[in-house]
């Protein structure tokens, strides 16, 4: 029973990180129509920012620095890569996004080497409840992701800026003709999504270490999450992320560690067979 509770706690933590990255993907895909495969690699770079700056300025300031640095990287990527490809074929954008993954991984490999780097947590120690040990940093991860989710929900639903972002996501042409600078909105969303990826990487680094390939499984799982959830809902993405985290954690414990990635993929396939629009996806009629 303790093992089950322990693995469920781990699954929620894992799901929180996947959820944060999935929310970034939903935001960016919703507004820019770009499957930003490089977000996982950008999160990995965020982990290295915390690794580098944490010992000097402390964890929290380094986490903020990771958000700023990766947000700035997102701005550069949007300006130099995706904006010029605005009218390019989908496959070109796909290849560009994959190219970015290779570039970022290569950079990390050249600068930091292949070995994992240990990153100290935000708070040391663990909370023990009924024999279940939960590191304080893991609680921080769950709390921060929930706070980010609630803040995003508020911005998107209750502010004018949020409605403008949703408008651009629904009809770029319609948004332009009522005076919305869609290019600037897209730029801002890419920066926001990238900064949140930096946050995800900075949060994850203390529990998984900083290493060049750390972003791969993040990206794969975040895409599984948004396919499982159905595109368009950040709330649905977060719930689906918890499900994926739990399935992965429990599957690795009770079935086999070797196939931990496979369980969530199988779940995704089953859901797609039963409900092709995803767990929370709705058929949206176009006007």
């Amino acid at each position: 029973m303790e093992l089950l509770a322990q693995q469920m706690a781990n699954g929620i933590v894992l799901g929180s990180i996947y959820g944060l990255l999935a929310i970034c993907l939903v935001l960016i895909f919703g507004v820019l129509d770009i499957p930003q495969f490089a977000l996982g690699a950008m999160a990995m770079l965020g982990g290295y920012v915390v690794f580098l700056l944490g010992p000097i300025v402390g964890y929290w300031v380094s986490l903020l620095a990771a958000m700023v640095a990766i947000g700035a990287l997102g701005a550069v990527v949007q300006r130099l890569v995706f904006a010029p490809l605005r009218k390019a074929a989908d496959v070109t954008v796909f290849v560009a996004a994959f190219g970015l993954v290779l570039i970022f991984q290569g950079l990390a490999l050249v600068i930091f080497g292949p070995d994992p780097r240990q990153v100290p947590p935000s708070i040391s120690g663990s909370l023990v409840i009924g024999g279940v040990h939960i590191a304080y940093h893991r609680l921080v991860i769950v709390g921060v992701v929930l706070a980010v989710f609630l803040a995003l929900q508020w911005v998107l639903r209750s502010t004018r800026a949020g409605r403008v972002i949703r408008a651009v996501g629904q009809s770029t042409t319609g948004a332009q003709v009522v005076g919305i600078p869609t290019g600037r909105v897209a730029f801002a969303v890419m920066i926001l999504g990238s900064a949140l990826a930096g946050l995800a990487g900075g949060l994850l680094a203390p529990i998984s270490q900083a290493m060049p390939l750390a972003g791969d499984s993040l990206t794969i799982n975040a895409f599984i999450v948004i396919i499982l959830a159905g595109m368009g809902s950040i709330g649905g993405a977060l719930v689906a992320a918890y499900i994926v985290g739990l399935v992965e954690s429990l599957g690795a414990t009770y079935l086999s560690q070797d196939f931990s990635q496979l369980y969530s993929i199988l779940l995704m396939l089953i859901v797609l067979l039963v409900k092709p629009s995803g767990l929370f996806g709705k058929k949206v009629s176009r006007v």
Binding site: R166, A175, Q176, G179, P181, V287
Partner: protein, 275 residues
Amino acid sequence: MTEALTLRDVDRRFGGLKAVDSVSMTVSEGEIFGIIGPNGAGKTTLFNLISGNVSTMSGAIELYGRRIERMPVHRRARLGLGRTFQTSQLFAGVTVHENLEIAEVSSRRGVGGWLGSPTARRTVEAERVDLEAWDLADKGERLAGELTLFEQQRLALAMTLAAGARVLLLDEPSGGLVESEVHQLMELIRGIRDRGVTVLVIDHKMRLMMQLCDRIMVMALGAVITTGDPTEIAADARVRELYFGRAPVRGVERNERTGGPDPADAHTWRAGPTS
């Protein structure tokens, strides 16, 4: 009379096809200006050039004397150029109120105008857009995607005014509407003009155009054939040839050669029913 919109020698080519060929025109403030022509005449491309959805290759476009042909779409919109499309470009997943609010908010300069709670709606929206006037009073909380075609059309018109349009481009506004709705639409467009908004309209329903427009420009193969008031247009031999061939035949449903717009007889364009 103030010139609201002026085009001088505007050109647009797609590969070897001259979609818009050296078009010049002037529309006065408060005018309802129609553009007609067979399919492929370049009417919608001309609208796209004016609104900025397609860029010009040469020529000048002026909105109230200001050159706009190099401006992006959103800047033209902020200068008062509104537009509706043949295929609705409403924000289907949000409510009627939210659609209007997005249009109203976006007309403000800078991100500063976008911050703040939407519940604190400025009175501007209430002044500019009275939902009752658009017969949408009980639809405020409905999703735009759930509205009927005519309701969507009315919402699209209301949104252009909420966004502060002074010159409005209407592309096939009567498309898919039934007879009674076309009559209502005509009254709505006249009402918009009465607010001081200049209206340019493309439509294939010829009687609607003849009854609604102050002047009409006829296009074919990207070029302007003639411009005049509806009576002149109905009597113009080149226009009659364009739509009916050399000898007008009563009762012909559609001109097969030109893909002409309407089964209407030129003699009844102005006085007859709208479809």
